[in-house]
Symmetry: C2
Subunit: 395 residues, 2 copies
Amino acid sequence: MFLEFNFASIPHIIFGAGKLNKIYEIIPKFGNNVLFVIGGSSLKKSGKWDEIESRMQKNNISFTSISVYGEPTPRLVDDAVNKFRNHNIDVIVGIGGGSVIDTGKAISAMLPKNDSIKNYLEGVGKKTHDGKKIPYIAVPTTSGTGSEATKNAVITEVGIEGFKKSLRHDNLIPNYAVIDPELVLSCPKSVSASCGMDAFTQLLEAFVSPKANLITDALAMSGMKQMKNAIITVCSEKSTDIHLRSAMAYGSFLSGVVLANAGLGIVHGFASSIGGLFEIPHGVVCGTLLAESTKVNIKRLEQLGTEHKNSLQKYALVGALINGKKCFEDIDIPHHCSILVDMLDNWTKKLNIDRLGQYGITSIDIDNIIEKTSLKNNPVQLKREDLHEILINRI
Amino acid sequence: MFLEFNFASIPHIIFGAGKLNKIYEIIPKFGNNVLFVIGGSSLKKSGKWDEIESRMQKNNISFTSISVYGEPTPRLVDDAVNKFRNHNIDVIVGIGGGSVIDTGKAISAMLPKNDSIKNYLEGVGKKTHDGKKIPYIAVPTTSGTGSEATKNAVITEVGIEGFKKSLRHDNLIPNYAVIDPELVLSCPKSVSASCGMDAFTQLLEAFVSPKANLITDALAMSGMKQMKNAIITVCSEKSTDIHLRSAMAYGSFLSGVVLANAGLGIVHGFASSIGGLFEIPHGVVCGTLLAESTKVNIKRLEQLGTEHKNSLQKYALVGALINGKKCFEDIDIPHHCSILVDMLDNWTKKLNIDRLGQYGITSIDIDNIIEKTSLKNNPVQLKREDLHEILINRI
């Protein structure tokens, strides 16, 4: 299976509790005029932002900052780029959840251009980005999207003509990813839960993708092995346990690495279409649809028979892994596939992941959603009725 | 164990039979004035060099080339840099074994400097390289050093005052690694064998290194899993089997990734000291010392008891893997450690790896070798008598 593959570069990673401090060593490598892209209030509330400001002043580094709220829109990115285009920014540091990391990535890519980001979005604009950018350091404060490891920034415009599309180029992979699990400690349980489900979805979808290769397989299994021991405890009770938070941050980072190289499946097909139509957090769409989509995928694979045995084996392997099995020889495939679905169902319930209905989505919307949904790199071709089944069970 | 780690960027990888052709798409991304660094005759004999020349001419890309023989010396690098400094080279492509890849890497790093490489070598010169370089594409034609994935170039000066030291900087990791197993098909069996043993040594030494982390562990295991099925067959009989050659090229590449991040142990400590004192291929030093060094490491770890259980467990895991075991639960540690040593001994014999004595090294040289040998990131502290035991058994 590994006869050929591409594997995009990954950022230089600095991982560990307290490693936020490393940004003071990294920034001067690129210059002394920094733009910070940060989120709403949590960084400021925690006192971390005051600390950053004082360290910057002490080190005589010029800096300015921009706070962003919600998922990045073309307008948000364009406005920021217009504001800072003539500021001679040397390096951008994005500190926040997936939306903030993506916003920083988009600004770093658009600052050298005199143009709107809309013209460069896949499936929206007609131009292709050339990869020229301002160096970018990504510092995630949630364990979810893995955006600190990816080459794309997801930009959203909500509405009838809405979309959720990517600005993408190999060179947009951040120069550094500083992953400090201490920054995730204050993340609320509900956010941790949906982010965690998103990251696990990414690992699983990349693992069963037809584009998977030996490297993505090794990394996806390593990520799932850590997350499966942590996800329920850290997202429902021990949210301040640094070891469990580290396990989640590790899995989340690897989910970005593997999705960038192996692609994703139907759950992220839905995340794209539903996210363009409704105001609903990305992690909730993934979390709420993961178990149901896996169930339908496995059902279709089983109907198709032996030529899809490899995908079923992989689902079974994950079932065995989650179930605590350490010996993966002669796994009973149907049995462990059904364990996987039960486990994911169980996680969805224990983590109180919202249903789509809680965001105003009803059965009337299903046709429109399906219309706009691509299967991406799903391991099996799904029919309209399959997509309908997944959605109706999570309305 | 994964509470903190650094993981250096890895190159963009293009892997697969026939993928050499991808260089014609990659080169124009950097410019249209190329310097090829190539080895002796094999590329020319195979007709591949003629093909490259004609494609370059057809695509109107200016190019020049330099052929290098043997391991790179400071003089070789300095002479090449002086020759091409004013040629406005846009990108360098190194096609060859580890020595050629390292030479290309060193030239790419030294072209922007008006200085000798000696001043920047670790433990030799007093200057620190700043990472500025000409973009570099590495195309390996052996499966051995993994240099296409590393951030250092090993430079050798043989003699009494000899050394084998690195020019190293995070930014010296090649921009692209194009790994085409077809290029390895014509590699002679003896070279394949010593290169293969070198790559396996790197995977194993990084796996048991105190600096190993979860990512290097996952990748090292993935590499060893592929190589253990291929090494004997491809290096002793089926040298033109593209699947087995792919497995070796895969393991070799990953050995570079893990050594760059987790470091190496005593075998490479010896490779550095012996390689500086004698004219002996790097792969032979590693191949000939691997089984003996592993035996002594395990013996010392067993004497030290429980605090070193993790390293013994890792050795046992590799023993179980090589032995074809698929179930890694409750492995008998002493039993599988001894299987590992027996297997490595067996490989050394089956692959006819030379002894040190065949390169003029005698027991009289042992003290001098030990004097110059560092333990690097060996899993256990070894004494002078341990090093003596390893060497005397392979003279």
